[in-house]
Symmetry: C2
Amino acid sequence: MGLAKTEIFTDQQNQIAIFAKAFGHPARVAILQQLFKMDSCYCGSLVDEIGLAQPTISQHLKELRNLGLVKGNVEGTSVCYCIDKDNWTVMKAVMGDFLDQDLPENEDCC
Amino acid sequence: MGLAKTEIFTDQQNQIAIFAKAFGHPARVAILQQLFKMDSCYCGSLVDEIGLAQPTISQHLKELRNLGLVKGNVEGTSVCYCIDKDNWTVMKAVMGDFLDQDLPENEDCC
DNA sequence: TTGTTTAATTGCAATATTACAATTAATAAT
DNA sequence: ATTATTAATTGTAATATTGCAATTAAACAA
């Protein structure tokens, strides 16, 4: 069908998947890395830096904004984007709980 | 188009996106959590546990296997799956470098 | 007001993903 | 050999994602 059956999963599982999806495209990874590097950035700078068309970058920014990982500040005709530190911390905690799982040392079937 | 322009991104950015995509579906998150919890698991057990059809689980397992996060061991008519600890560690390092970025404390445009 | 600049939105085409029924493959059991 | 069990594969339908041209919106500048 193409649509995930989210209702059969826990909120935690769905939230991990939603955050992970945000990082599931290299353009969004690049945007976030650039925002970390520059502390803040304009949409046009990201277009120049990354090399995708302006509507494409704008669309990826929208997804990151909707997730709360990025926030934007209107400055005249420009919009200055930056990482939302608080939500980044929340995301890191959620992903960390998942990624930092550990297996018991003993058994291993494979 | 629907296909990411991977050639304009760094290997690191693409690799982060590929790993993240693996976690971008709650079924794969659930499968991995179950494998951590049980240490190992049969495909049929995952079908019962998660509640998606057998071909669907099998397909998700295949993706996780192709990425190297999971490995399978044939035991008669069953296949025992478990986490590939070594590759999980590699993945954690790659994702960690990305997630643990820090901003300078001072400036903040937004 | 009229242009200029910057970013968001719309519309569309192409590809990817998700899900499952039906089938096939492989091994074990009788 | 036949049957049962388990998982992979195939085929197909539905939805999602990606990318960009064209357009629109909003703020500033002259």
